[in-house]
């Protein structure tokens, strides 16, 4: 079994290349395995609300999680299961939140991808994703005010969120304050059903970097090797005090927006292009080519991932549902300032 704590303590960049690659691949595999399981549970009617998969984005995502260290900040997007796991989110947090367990971090109050542990640097997104960037900025500003240096914050968004006013405000804010922010844009060619031609008119989103006064990085999101390198470099530069870094990854979403969406609008030509390659398969090929793993070892890793997922699902399924009669229906931390008049329980 792989543990997130390991890479967060040591810093993965100090490991030999094979070790880094294998570790990244195994987080990707675990994420893909859980995603497949969640899709099955969704089809079986076992999940309330939506299911949002990271299929095709695992290489980019895991590279974020592995580039970060303990004490860093990560505001993921909805397709960042691999990155969350590598960053240190327990597998059970994901499963419990999807299944609505009262023991999960959101206790049934929020679901699916809207989960996190803010005090541990993992932010639970609101649906207006562009709005998360400024929250990361604020955490980084607070650390500077407290005299804490050397930590980095990553905000992860898609091509769609780059069109929001919140994204513009926050990237400009980070640049003005020269914060150690890494803004990672997964350009997966579609925001729900909207293609990039209806989302922006610049040739490449990374062209925006100089306009904000930040450094820009492009990466092929289907290539784990390249993702690991680029994310490591961007995070290191932010950590070294070079200000915000904009990373734009080219890839294709290999699933619907959510599992309710058959994604029939995706252009078949894109699927057949290099963008449409499955990053997990690309990584597997490299493992085999380099002789870092053989078919037997890959199968053993798959079996282990399946076992981890099945155990987590079985655990969460035994935990029941939140009880509305025992729920504390108060939205304020200052309990005595909640109005008894409005308490309908």
């Amino acid at each position: 079994m792989i543990h997130a704590a390991a890479n967060r303590e040591i810093g993965i960049d100090r490991l030999p290349e094979r070790e880094q690659f294998v570790r990244a691949y195994r987080w990707m595999l675990l994420a893909r395995t859980l995603d497949d399981k969640l899709a099955s549970l969704y089809r079986a009617g076992k999940i309330h609300g939506g299911v949002f998969l990271g299929r095709g984005q695992e290489a980019l995502s895991v590279s974020i999680g592995l580039a970060l260290r303990k004490g860093d900040i990560f505001a993921p997007l909805i397709r960042d299961l691999a990155g969350r796991l590598a960053f240190g989110e327990p597998l059970l947090d994901a499963v419990r939140t999807y299944l609505g367990s009262p023991l999960g971090p959101m206790r049934g109050r929020d679901g699916n991808v809207h989960r996190g542990r803010p005090r541990e640097g993992l932010l639970p997104m609101i649906s207006h994703l562009g709005a998360m960037i400024a929250v990361v900025n604020g955490m980084l500003m607070a650390r500077r005010l407290k005299g804490i240096s050397g930590t980095v914050g990553v905000a992860s968004i898609g091509d769609g969120a780059t069109s929001t006013g919140a994204c513009h405000e926050a990237l400009n804010q980070a640049a003005v304050e020269r914060l150690p922010l890494v803004l990672v844009v997964a350009n997966n060619q579609y925001a729900y059903s909207t293609p990039t031609s209806r989302q922006f008119a610049c040739a490449d989103l990374v062209d925006r970097a100089p306009g904000y006064g930040v450094e820009g990085h492009s990466v092929d999101g289907t290539e784990l090797t390249e993702c690991l390198q680029v994310l490591r470099r961007a995070v290191a530069q932010a950590r070294a005090g070079r200000g915000p870094q904009l990373v734009v990854a080219r890839l294709l979403r290999l699933c619907g927006h959510g599992e309710h969406d058959d994604a029939s609008y995706v252009d078949p030509k894109l699927k057949d292009s290099p963008l449409g390659r499955d990053c997990l398969k690309v990584a597997e090929n490299r493992l085999l080519q380099e002789g870092w793993a053989d078919a037997t070892l890959l199968e053993a890793w798959r079996a282990e991932a399946v076992q981890q997922v099945e155990e987590a699902v079985a655990t969460a399924q035994r935990e029941g549902a939140p009880d509305p009669y025992k729920e504390d229906w108060r939205a304020l931390a200052t309990r005595h300032l909640c109005e008894p008049y409005l308490d309908v329980t």
Binding site: R119, A131, L145, A331, L337
Partner: protein, 321 residues
Amino acid sequence: MSITYLEAIREAQARALAEDPRVFIYGQDVGVFGGAFKATKNLYEQFPGRVIDAPISEDAIIGAAVGAAIEGLRPIVEIQFADFSTTGFNQIINQAATLFWRTQVPCPIVIRLPSGGTSGSGPFHSQCLENLYAHCPGLIVMTPATVEDAYSMLLEAVAIDDPVIFCEHKLLYYHLKAEALPTEALPVGKARLAREGRDMTIVTYGAMLHESLAAATELAAEGYEIEVVDLRTVKPLDTDTVMASVARTGRLLCVGESWPWGGVTAEVIARVVTEGFALLDAPPQRLNAKDTPVPYHPALWAAHRPTSQTIAAAARKLLRL
């Protein structure tokens, strides 16, 4: 020596900065310039690094305040005019107000909203938005009407573990004065009996307190004793104090400077009618601004919002019912 409402706000911020290293101020022009209304005058020099100028980005300003709160700090955000908070609305309603309920991590931020009409300010520098914010769970909404409350409530707002929308009234900034800063205050969430009477209760808050008190004085000359309740915080709303007053007078007029559809005045009447129907000798009434954007011209502006004259007229009508 006397101190104005605006100076009280400045002094409260100076004290919060001096006493609590977690406090910092973030907003447009708040640094060397001292703020559009000078509410942060000299604080940049007194507290180096802790009074931070922001770009014109209300969304990012409030988002960053939420992030700082997660890290254990206590940001005070100055939104230059309450009207501009609408561009940060998403961060207030969906980020700040939901954080504690979703994650159990408190969100102690104060968002100062210079609110309300001043003659000649027009539709986008005059709004009172307490109704919008009071509607949403997860927020505390303060509407101080006196110099003493401006000071003590702002200090309490900083100490509270939840997001506080602090609606300070621009019309009171310069002309409202007190002899000294208060040494004690009513607890947050408690309304104040601003004037005692037995013939009718006026429930109000913010700048409308002073119009209502003037109306009560006018009516006293006609032989009526009007009780005036200053809500101080509109959320939480002190239903008990309102109900006790209505029990004494049997008549209720609610006065607010914001727009008439829904809102604080409607909420007060709904509560009194629901729980205190038998206390009422006449149908409760309310008086708000007109249901249009706030006009620019002084002649129109003066007629748009309730004044002591229109409040007195509404009160006379209610007294005859």
